[in-house]
């Protein structure tokens, strides 16, 4: 006699099968919200980026179809004497701009953090350049750099009997002059971030250190700076990327001969712009973007690695 069990197997009562489980409903919502940015970045950012890699292997003048030419664009780029110059300029912006702007903004943030009187006003004052249009600012600075009766700086210098400086017309001084503008433009943002970082350090750390007998300098070196490191790492990377991609200030301050005089201020992005939209060599410009991309990637990763948390 075979044993037969009637109905549902014991211990496994039939649960009604629900398709929209809690997890699925949540996933639907999550992806519903994520879809827009994912689509946006896919179409507007990632696809063109990927496409640029392919374009860099072609010859394309926007009119005819791109034709595949292998690595020719790259060999041409590395042989181009202009590229060497542009490469050096770009790194000059990076190597001088990042440390100077970070040190300046830290000093200002550190001082502002202690000021009670007019604190909000001063902070707003420093932040103002950051929200001002780059071209407007660049034009104001261009005016500052003019020869004596017009230019404020030369006027000031001549007051002390110092000879006129050519600033933007000098192959030596044009790049530092533009850098000053760029540093000034980014300062407000860095100050705000540094101040937020400083505010986040609990005051009892300082009090404990004062009781343990540390002076201001020791407190800064042993407590403030180490605790501010995450903020600093962020700003180093952020500001480096900014200087490696510098364009606005250079373009607007040297409009007659963008990147001049004699290419002495020309950064990589400006070269890319000119190759693409003055010479219409899209493939060549794409190869330059790929190089810029690689530089940005390597520099950022290198910084993150050097500044990593060692435990």
């Amino acid at each position: 006699m075979a044993l037969t069990e009637q109905g549902a197997p014991a211990g496994r009562p039939d649960r009604p099968h629900v398709f929209w489980t809690m997890r699925r409903r949540q996933l639907l919502w999550v992806w519903g919200f994520l879809a827009v940015p994912v689509l946006f970045y896919g179409v507007i950012r990632f696809y063109p980026t990927g496409h640029a890699f392919w374009l860099s292997l072609t010859d394309w003048d926007l009119m005819s179809d791109p034709s595949f030419i292998g690595l020719d664009n790259y060999t041409r780029l590395f042989a181009d004497p202009q590229f060497g110059r542009v490469f050096r300029n770009t790194f000059a912006y990076l190597i001088m701009g990042t440390p100077i702007s970070l040190i300046l903004s830290f000093i200002i943030a550190y001082a502002l953090d202690r000021v009670r009187f007019g604190h909000t006003f001063l902070r707003a004052l420093y932040f103002l350049p950051f929200i001002t249009t780059a071209s407007a600012m660049a034009w104001v600075w261009r005016w500052f750099y003019q020869p004596a009766p017009i230019g404020v700086i030369n006027d000031f210098l001549s007051g002390f009997g110092i000879p006129q400086m050519a600033f933007l017309n000098s192959t030596t001084w044009a790049l530092p002059s533009i850098m000053v503008t760029a540093i000034w433009a980014g300062l407000g943002f860095q100050i705000i971030i540094f101040m937020a970082g400083l505010r986040a350090i609990p005051t009892t750390y300082y009090e404990a250190a004062r009781i343990d007998g540390l002076g201001e300098w020791a407190i800064l070196r042993r407590i403030t700076l180490p605790l501010l490191k995450p903020t600093t790492v962020f700003l180093v990377v952020f500001s480096s990327i900014g200087f490696l991609r510098i364009f606005d200030q250079v373009y607007n301050m040297t409009t007659n001969d963008p990147g001049g005089p004699l290419g002495s201020t020309k950064p990589l992005v400006l070269m890319i712009y000119q190759t693409a939209f003055s010479s219409y060599q899209m493939g060549y410009a794409a190869a330059q973007t790929v190089v810029l991309f690689t530089i940005l990637l390597v520099v950022s990763l290198l910084q993150l690695w050097i500044l990593r948390e060692r435990t």
């Binding site: 009892t204 009090e207 404990a208 004062r210 009781i211 343990d212």
Partner: protein, 343 residues
């Protein structure tokens, strides 16, 4: 080691006075505990002793020296903060050694001090960890270690145990007390926990609204509270207070009477032999604690707490009678709230 003295110490923020001219002498090696409700000025007083807060009036003396204008580092005082204030970017060893940052000792001597402190606090196996990998109690010990290596004139503690759970708190209480016995350094300790005050102090200083209400040994404060506030603040559960009057030399409960009669729940025993004072009412709640039971009952519209022996738990709604022995009744003046003695 040193004595600490406060002379007419005043602190004001703008026009508001938060410390109203307090006077206190702390002997060398004494363990003094400041207690009081939140906002009464305990931390402010402590921070003035440490030099973290400017003195608005009066004087602070450490040893024989007036330190009002001295920087914290020149006062040779160590402080342990409520939130520990140990540095997240340093290991336990570095944190403890940080107390010796300005010390003229040689490297070897400093290392020896750190090792010694770590051994004393049971931190040796944790010396190379970062604070993030420590429990609350361990962090607190690191903070104490940093203060210990200094060999300061006095230790200041600001509610060091308030972030710990009850069990750890009991354990750290003992450890701090043992530390005091071993080092013999003057300690000023702030808490709002009366149990901490009772168990650790050589002397308790009760504060309220920027005034010192009473200062004395734990037994003095418990047995002879100077006023209603101290009587209710020290001792757990709080002392019962009933309006009363004296009629023909005897104390009787009387609504709106000129006196306040105080009875500690532990003196008021349910179902005891006839005592000197008896009181009865309807039970509203019982709290069995194991060795004893707290019985809440209503009498003349007020809740009174009494104790009952462990196994005798009265039913809610039943009427109980509790009595207290002679000498257990504290009398206060209802208007001034000052103590009038016991009977």
């Amino acid at each position: 080691m040193a004595t600490i003295a406060l002379r007419n110490l005043v602190k004001s923020y703008g026009k508001t006075d938060v410390i109203h001219g307090i006077n206190l002498d702390i002997a060398d090696g004494e363990f003094v505990v400041f207690v009081g409700p939140s906002g009464c000025g305990k931390s402010t007083t402590l921070r003035m002793i440490a030099g973290l807060e400017e003195v608005s009036g009066g004087e602070i003396l450490i040893g024989d020296q007036v330190v009002n204008e001295l920087d914290p580092k020149r006062r040779n005082i160590a402080m342990v903060f409520q939130n520990y204030a140990i540095y997240p970017h340093m290991t336990v060893r570095q944190n403890i050694a940080f107390g010796l940052y300005t010390s003229p000792l040689s490297r070897e001597q400093k290392d020896a001090r750190v090792t010694e402190a770590a051994t004393m606090l049971g931190l040796t196996p944790l010396l190379d960890r970062r604070p993030a990998a420590l429990s609350g109690g361990q962090r607190q010990r690191v903070a104490i270690g940093r203060a210990m290596v200094r060999d300061p004139a006095a230790f200041l503690f600001d509610e060091p145990l308030s972030n710990l759970d009850a069990q750890l708190r009991a354990q750290m209480r003992i450890e701090i007390k043992r530390l005091h016995q071993r080092l013999g350094t003057t300690i000023v300790y702030v808490t709002h926990d009366q149990v901490e005050a009772m168990t650790m102090a050589d002397r308790i200083v009760v504060m309220r609204d920027g005034h010192i209400l009473q200062s004395g040994t734990p037994t003095e404060i418990y047995d002879a509270p100077a006023n209603v506030f101290t009587a209710q603040f020290i001792g757990s559960p709080s002392m019962n207070l009933l309006p009363a009057a004296e009629v023909e030399g005897r104390i009787v409960a009387q609504a709106g009477g000129p006196l306040l009669a105080g009875l500690r729940p532990h003196d008021l025993v349910v179902g005891a032999e006839e005592g000197a004072f008896a009181i009865s009412g309807e039970v509203t709640a019982v709290e069995p604690l194991g060795p004893e039971t707290l019985v809440h009952f209503l009498t003349e519209g007020r809740t009174v707490i009494a104790t009952a022996p462990a196994r005798m738990i009265p039913a809610i709604g039943s009427t109980v009678q509790a009595s207290a022995p002679r000498g257990a009744l504290y009398l206060f003046d209802a208007a001034s709230e000052k103590a009038l003695g016991r009977r």
